[in-house]
Symmetry: C2
Subunit: 509 residues, 2 copies
Amino acid sequence: MLGLTLDPRSDESIVDQLTGALRDRIRERQLVAGERLPSSRALAAALGVHRNTVTTVYRCLVDEGWLESQVGRGTFVGEDLPEGEGAVESRFASGTSFDWSPWRTGHGPTPGDEMAEAYGTPQLADTISFAGGVPDPDLYPADEVRRLGRELLRGDDTLLFRYGPAAGYEPLRELLAAEAVRDGVVSGEHEVLITNGSSQGLDLFLRFATEPGRIGVATVPCYPGALHLFEVHGVRCRSVPIESNGLDLGQLEQALAGERPRFLHLIPRFQNPTGLTLSTLERQRVLALAARYRVPIFEDDYGPGLRFEGSEPPTLLALASSGGVIQSGTLSKIAFPGFRIGWLFVPRAIFGDLHEIKRCSDLGGSLFPQMVVYEFWRRGGLARHVKKVRREYGRRRDALLEALDREMPDEVRWSEPQGGLVLWLSLPEGLDSLELLPTAARAGVTYAPGAFFYPGGAGPAGLRMSFGGVPAERIAEGVRRLSVVLREASRTAGRRKARRSASDSSLAV
Amino acid sequence: MLGLTLDPRSDESIVDQLTGALRDRIRERQLVAGERLPSSRALAAALGVHRNTVTTVYRCLVDEGWLESQVGRGTFVGEDLPEGEGAVESRFASGTSFDWSPWRTGHGPTPGDEMAEAYGTPQLADTISFAGGVPDPDLYPADEVRRLGRELLRGDDTLLFRYGPAAGYEPLRELLAAEAVRDGVVSGEHEVLITNGSSQGLDLFLRFATEPGRIGVATVPCYPGALHLFEVHGVRCRSVPIESNGLDLGQLEQALAGERPRFLHLIPRFQNPTGLTLSTLERQRVLALAARYRVPIFEDDYGPGLRFEGSEPPTLLALASSGGVIQSGTLSKIAFPGFRIGWLFVPRAIFGDLHEIKRCSDLGGSLFPQMVVYEFWRRGGLARHVKKVRREYGRRRDALLEALDREMPDEVRWSEPQGGLVLWLSLPEGLDSLELLPTAARAGVTYAPGAFFYPGGAGPAGLRMSFGGVPAERIAEGVRRLSVVLREASRTAGRRKARRSASDSSLAV
């Protein structure tokens, strides 16, 4: 991050090293006036240092006049250098005087770099990462897809070079529609829109359905990609807890009542990050509430085919009779996320609106990946692959549950997902999974800290473990490492608490 | 459009055929309650009928209760069917009761289908199309790119399957940066963002810089992709004329003064649709005005390498010393638009903001096309290809200017672009190029009607001719066909005018 590296063996303290490095970046105009710095949390996670270290450095640079701190917005490079500090001259020295700060609208983007960078935490060579919620690249059907791609490129179809339809490659839309029509969820390909991954699906819907300051309803914890998009769109989020006993329907009703929300965002199947699945009954209740308060539902359905056991409840879209459900899908949790193939099932009444936003914003995605995926799907490769990864991820889930059962301290709890790629670990009070991340990384294990899944980063202790990316035989070792970190942290927290209550009682005397 | 076809040889009139077909679509719920219909202009252009035919049909269906007309918003399918008209039952019959109309926010998308559909006007087999402003697919370096693609797929790089960096494929960013650093316009790849075509570049900037109701400044005529995006973003557009004698700097100053605009959008090189290029002096004046009123400039630079003659003025980004210019680029006017490769050169101060919006909205584009383009570029294929198409498009421009000179009536005027793919034809008063399009299509020639290039479709008579897509030996015949249409239309307009002035004088008596 920012190209910074620290040397723990240096004579200079970490604080001094970091302060000096940031001063240099500003002098050399690698950081320029008005530029936003990473949050202290993100930079700390990226550098593997404690967050207090970074806040100390930032405070010191603010005092010296290098940085400016704006409450609630972050830390920025100052407009003027401290007196006596000449900038290193470059041909761009004069290229930075335009003041962009009034251009940052109130509902502007928030730095999602906390997330991105935590995954980039410097890691030991043999780190076991439960962090990313992505499928294992080693399982990709690479040979078959490469072969299909070469076949396509040997042909003479110039379609792959031309502007394609904004709604996506027609045969792929038809294939998706054919399956969905069988499931009774769409009436034909005129309700299918291919998107650049499922992120773009949610983004298009939010562009259609919301305006800055409007209200949306989502679960906590929630998929961070959705939380970040809510922020980009300036949506004020009402949160409904999802826990081991399901979605809190009382709180859901409260959230839907009052000023009418623009949408309810849900991941009913293998919810990310908890791994929980809503039962058919829960789904029916959710639909009834949404219908009563006339709020449309955005159903993120990333996990079809990834169920290891039990029966599959119908999707909200299949259960709904109101036309008020829009559903996103993706291949990125099954294989090759780099192809960026997602889709929306869009009620006919608003298909034209979403299609138009898609058309205006990027004129449609690249055709080649859509054509390759189409062939892979049509020839049965996708079905074979889904079967293979379901078996493998099921094995990994089993290995993870078994290891957690064996290794974890009593106060730690976890969800038991019936499919997907992730589960949720609840930590005892006093443990902060974000603060513990650098320690865990040093111990050779990483995860996604709970804070990433709560609006504003404020949530109860917890963390997400993805079993998708770790081979079954490495899982037990990863859990062992994590349990050591958690036990040690529990002891420290216990001692701290004991000291605090001791000092409380001395005060009380 | 809507899957409608009309049979001119039928006993039934065109109005009756169209009215019946739309009733059927609504009965069968292929068109559902609340759905927006194409504008009468767009549907007329798509079906090759006169616009009045469509307005008659719409009015009739509104009277019967099938459709609802909402002033300024368009024509929609009615919430209820006319009495006595039972819908054809389908499993989706009950799936359309959710009322989406309150979800259409005021600044929602406008149907860009006028544009898309006019290009889909039913055409004779030997139609000569000057309509699309895209490069000629027959010139694509298909063999070389197919070979490079196959080479990549034979390798074992799994990068193409994985989530890539949201900012784009690193080596491609570096390559772009290396060229741009040489030209003195960026300081390194940390100012380069790969986008899904240049449309997404403008979209990202607008998402950063504007809010609904804010003001932007752009030229008239203007690239329709930009106009549509301004509408999607709810930007109120102040227009500055660009004509054969250049940009109207007096009007530009007026547009920049007053309530501060959020941006000035310009295509200084081979402007689309006029083909005009701003001189260095004009560029300096524009920059001075933008700096005085502290308005950032979005420079759409689609045409580097496409100059046939004369010297290349520096880009606004190269001339600017204020850091207030952001520039978009694309390969889509050189080759393979279907690969969707565009980029932004972003001032360092706001790079993080735009990068974050890009990351949230689609997690980055597909890597494979970026990797292929990188190899093509790095190995010199792109430079060779640019040389080839420049020569060829230059030949086509020459053929077009020559044919226009020979064939066109005296009252028709045109621009003489020094490069690019398009030129602008000014028509005498009384001719409407949009209304003439079906006639022209029947005569075997098409073009882009002037209305597409003006906000709200209201502009002086004129049309855009793209010479990029027509082989040189077909150009003279295309111009001959167009000139016949224009001469005939002039005569009709002349007679109409004569009749009108005759009736005026009879009234005056």
